[in-house]
């Protein structure tokens, strides 16, 4: 990996419910303590790509989080959440056209095209090198999808010549690299291509976010099943540029309000049929 | 060509080809005094053209052409452009399909033959083209060899020996390994003649062999043809505008105009005392 500034001391904290505590590059601000967001001034100063509009960018094939429905409308859990956030901020919400998942972080890091990426994106240390994240808004896990009844496990999959698909740049991608070192990791642009490949036997399995796996299997891939749930306990956050700390604070504020006033539960209920997510 | 057939103008009715012996005796009578070539009673013409008609779409370019050519005879066909002389020549080796009439080579009707039979026929009828049509990817020697090896199935050494012999005969022994692009037009045409002769055809057709050449290159080609005519005993039908060549070399001169054989006869007769005013007019305009 690239040269990371080593710090000689730093006793670090792992705080559940917050982002990783210490940034990796000296230039980056450490994440705020989750509990301090209330102190952010009401008139947050932030910049937007387009005035009055909260511009989102995401990979729009990630049901139930963000996808394009039969009518061509972008819908999903993240969409409702982002609308709620925009409403709290007195903004309207717009989505850029579909973009490959692995381009989202660079897009936000570069700035100028989108303000935020709310895309079922797990807060993790590599991404934190490039972009900042809001407070986590949802917990998630990974799942291994394979043909129903195939009996595949993470042990059988970890073998030479076995192709395991994932979506490029996702946590599933790095999970395969770290945990299935003998298998061949096949990163793909979209989830459907991977599921289709597993269904036709092109790939042995796919590792993706569990809610997405369950949704895909229920909606269109009845011949597949989640053969193994991987309890990663990862957390989705909203990617924001480090150059726009005001926006991150404003979003955290809005998130807190949404949690408090029950909007979050409504959205969860709508998309997952339960608030226990 | 089948596509064209469908839009063919009205079918031209011609009588069936004459029986060989009858045709031969008629030809023997008819051609007396028309050629300086010596032919004998009972001998059969090598090429017999009876009532040959050819039309392109609605234009009739050959109208009831009749002609006999005797073995070893050198016939020169003259006529203005568009008179149908090249078309007649191309009909003889079926590069054009006659619309009606008969062409017989050694008393063998060549029209309405299968593709395989046509190929067999063509190896016996050599052709030298106005544009040479050498194969540019092959050397001079290979151009002369390819017909022998592919069609006559000669072995390579034999074909090569023949090729070198024929190239020497046209004065190009030292150009055997040159590609056509490295040769002058005149040299190319001489290679083309060697290529045709190497197949030892019964009849050799020349379709305006010097028309595409610069004037100073014409003579070399004509010399080769003259040599062939005088020393090989090959039957030659030559379409050309070279009056000198016709006068010196031809056994018979045929004058065509507008798809019709207007006049034929001994060269000195046709050139010096043309019977037909059209012939006189044409020769006058050339000379």
């Amino acid at each position: 990996m690239t040269n990371m500034n080593r710090r000689n001391f730093v006793a670090t904290l792992g705080l559940a419910g917050t982002a990783l505590l210490a940034g990796c590059n000296g230039s980056e601000q450490p994440a705020d303590d989750a509990q301090t967001t209330d102190e952010t001034p009401e008139e947050a100063s932030y910049t937007l790509v387009k005035e009055g509009v909260l511009t989102n960018v995401a990979e729009l094939g990630f049901a139930p989080f963000e996808y394009i429905d039969e009518d061509g409308v972008t819908v999903g859990f993240d969409v409702d959440l982002s609308n709620a956030i925009a409403e709290k901020l007195g903004l309207t919400c717009e989505w850029l056209p579909n973009q490959a998942f692995d381009t989202l972080v660079p897009t936000i890091a570069q700035g100028g095209k989108a303000d935020i990426s709310i895309a079922g994106m797990t807060i993790d240390d590599t991404r934190l090198e490039e972009v900042d994240f809001s407070d986590p808004y949802l917990n998630s896990n990974q799942g291994i999808v394979a043909l129903a009844g195939s009996g595949e496990t993470s042990e059988t999959l970890d073998a030479e010549g076995v192709q395991v698909a994932c979506q490029t740049g996702t946590t599933g991608n790095s999970w395969i690299e770290e945990n299935l070192p003998n298998a061949t990791c096949v990163p793909l642009a979209d989830v459907t291509a991977g599921m289709m490949g597993v269904s036709t036997g092109l790939y042995k399995a796919m590792v993706i976010d569990l809610p997405v796996a369950q949704n895909m299997i229920a909606e269109s891939f009845s011949d597949l099943e989640v053969v193994e749930e991987i309890p990663t306990g990862e957390q989705y956050g909203i990617a924001v540029s480090y150059d726009n700390p005001g926006l991150k604070d404003a979003i955290n504020d809005a998130l807190a309000q949404i949690e408090e006033d029950g909007t979050m539960d409504e959205i969860k209920q709508k998309w997952f049929g339960t608030t226990e997510v | 060509m089948p596509a064209k057939l469908r839009h063919r103008a009205p079918v031209i009715e011609v009588p069936p080809a004459l029986p060989a012996d009858e045709a031969a005796s008629i030809a023997y009578e008819a051609d007396q005094g028309l050629t300086s070539h010596h032919f004998t009673p009972g001998e059969h013409p090598i090429v017999r053209i009876e009532h040959l008609n050819k039309s392109f779409d609605d234009t009739l370019v050959l109208k009831d052409v009749n002609l006999n050519v005797w073995p070893g005879e050198v016939v020169v066909v003259l006529g203005p452009s568009g008179s149908g002389k090249s078309t007649m020549l191309r009909c003889i080796n079926l590069l054009e399909t006659p619309s009606a009439g008969h062409i017989l080579i050694e008393d063998d009707e060549i029209t309405n033959k299968s593709a395989a039979e046509v190929n067999k026929l063509r190896r016996d009828v050599g052709m030298v083209f106005q544009q040479f049509n050498l194969f540019p990817h092959l050397t001079a020697k290979e151009n002369v060899m390819i017909g022998q090896t592919k069609v006559l199935k000669k072995d390579k050494a034999e074909a090569e020996a023949e090729a070198l012999k024929q190239l020497a005969a046209v004065g190009l022994a030292d150009r055997a390994d040159f590609k056509p692009a490295q040769l002058s037009g005149g040299q190319q045409q001489r290679v083309a003649i060697a290529r045709a002769v190497a197949m030892h055809p019964n009849v050799l057709l020349f379709d305006e062999p010097t028309s595409a050449l610069d004037p100073e290159l014409v003579r070399g080609v004509l010399d080769v043809m003259r040599d062939l005519a005088e020393n090989s005993g090959m039957t030659m039908i030559v379409v050309t505008h070279e009056m000198g060549f016709a006068r010196d070399v031809a056994d018979r001169v045929v004058f065509m105009e507008d798809g019709v054989v207007v006049e034929q006869g001994l060269p000195e007769k046709v050139f010096d005392h043309p019977e037909n005013p059209r012939t006189a007019e044409f020769l006058g305009s050339i000379n």
Binding site: E178, E228 | K120, R122, V125, P136, G147, S184
Partner: protein
């Protein structure tokens, strides 16, 4: 597997404890925290090795056994490892449900102690992800041992399965050396240069993309002879006398040329398995590329064949050659020379188009770059891939130029000479010779 075993154990144990809590507790060894697994994130640039002496991330997982609680965990690695400067993320899960757990990590050389603010309850899966730690620089098998505190007493932690680590590779040394160069830092501080032309990544990309590059070349080189044969076949069909054969050729050529290669790849890779036809990925890649190129080549060949003057057919016919002989000895050899430039261009296109195979898991150049870009979040690997493509395409483009030049020259010099003396100079020598011959 470890997860599942852990989950099963937990479930089983939980179920049993209700009934046999005391009986089971008694014979159990004093193991309140079972080590599930320990893995390290690969930190070899462009590779999948875990290199010692370089920052990486250790992930350790353990299950808190029933009836137990854990308040502190100490992980120890072999001598030479260091946790100094690391950051630790704590995750605790009950099943798939995340619990709120906080704590403090205290690195101390090759050990790290994590004290939890709240005891980790029974049945939890505890995960510690320690970022920016280092394994011993000499590499080797690293076992994670350590201890934990449960109910105020310290216990030994069972050893993990060893983590394979390697010593620094020469390539990595170059990268590390580059890391320390001021000019590299200056270079990378330019946003564009750092994003597209990061020297460290260029170095690693070249070594790690090479297999993908070889595969690309292999696929297209293996596919092309078939493409040529198929293309020739369909070119012949297209100029055939028979309408049905022409129709077949037209449909084949137009459908393949008229649809994106991407679609054709999808149909072959996903469609064939659905018909229970299972072919190796690379072989299938070769087949798709061959079929796709054959359609383009068919058109190139057809145009090439039809560009051969009619006189060539007539000359061949007048020698008595049949159609097949004419085609194979006269027409096609000339066609080949004429189409070499276009065919080479098509080869270049086909070579670049192999990149689309990355969408279906063929491990070609783009796939490797994508992997690397994913890991690094940097575009440089794609640029390196571009350079790899250029290594093949630039010489070929040069070849096309030379061949085109040659053909132009040979066509200028060959064929019927126009009567008007346009290019006398060109053939002056030949004509002089001719004139001398004639006299």
């Amino acid at each position: 597997m470890q997860h599942r075993r852990g989950a099963l154990l937990v479930a089983l144990a939980l179920a049993l404890t209700g009934v046999f809590a005391t009986t089971l507790a008694a014979p159990r060894p004093a193991q309140a925290l079972t080590t599930e697994k320990a893995t390290a994130r690969p930190n070899e640039d462009g590779g999948d090795g875990v290199i010692g002496g370089m920052d990486t991330r250790l992930t350790w997982e353990g299950t808190v056994e029933p009836g137990e609680e854990v308040t502190s965990v100490t992980l120890t690695l072999p001598e030479g490892s260091t946790f100094d400067g690391s950051t630790t993320r704590i995750t605790a899960l009950e099943g798939l449900k995340r619990m709120d757990v906080t704590g403090e990590a205290v690195p101390a050389g090759s050990s790290i102690t994590v004290n939890f603010d709240q005891a980790i309850p029974e049945g939890s899966l505890l995960r510690l992800e320690i970022t920016n730690m280092q394994f011993p620089s000499e590499g080797g098998e690293c076992v994670v041992s350590g201890s934990y505190v449960s109910a105020g007493a310290e216990h030994e932690l069972a050893d993990s399965k060893p983590i394979e680590t390697i010593a620094n590779t020469p390539l990595q040394s170059i990268v590390n050396w580059l890391d320390d160069q001021p000019w590299v830092e200056a270079w990378n501080s330019n946003q564009f240069l750092g994003m597209f032309l990061k020297p460290q990544l260029l170095v690693t990309s070249f070594s790690s993309l090479a297999p993908g590059w070889i595969l690309c070349l292999g696929i297209v080189v293996a596919a092309y002879p078939f493409a040529i044969a198929l293309g020739l076949l369909f070119a012949m069909l297209k100029i055939s006398k028979w309408r049905i054969l022409r129709a077949i050729a037209v449909v084949y050529i137009n459908v393949l040329r008229g649809t994106p290669l991407f679609l054709q790849i999808y149909i072959m890779f996903f469609g064939l398995p659905m018909l229970n036809i299972n072919i190796d990925n690379n072989l299938l890649g070769i087949i798709v590329m061959a079929i796709n190129s054959s359609a383009y080549l068919a058109e190139i060949f057809r145009a090439g064949i039809q560009s051969i003057p009619q006189g060539q057919y007539e000359a061949a016919s007048s020698l008595g050659m049949n159609y097949v002989q004419t085609m194979f000895t006269i027409i096609l050899p000339q066609t080949v020379r004429r189409v070499i430039p276009t065919v080479t261009s098509d080869f270049i296109t086909a070579f670049k188009d192999t990149s689309l195979l990355s969408s279906v898991g063929v491990m070609e150049l783009m796939m490797f770059s994508k992997n690397l870009t994913t890991v690094t979040g940097n575009i440089t690997p794609y640029v390196a891939a571009g350079i790899f493509y250029l290594i093949v395409t630039l010489p070929l483009i040069k070849v096309v130029g030379i061949v085109e030049e040659n053909i132009a020259r040979s066509e200028r010099g060959s064929g019927p000479r126009p009567k008007r003396r346009a290019d006398v100079a060109d053939s002056a020598a030949a004509q002089m010779k001719e004139a001398t011959d004639a006299c």
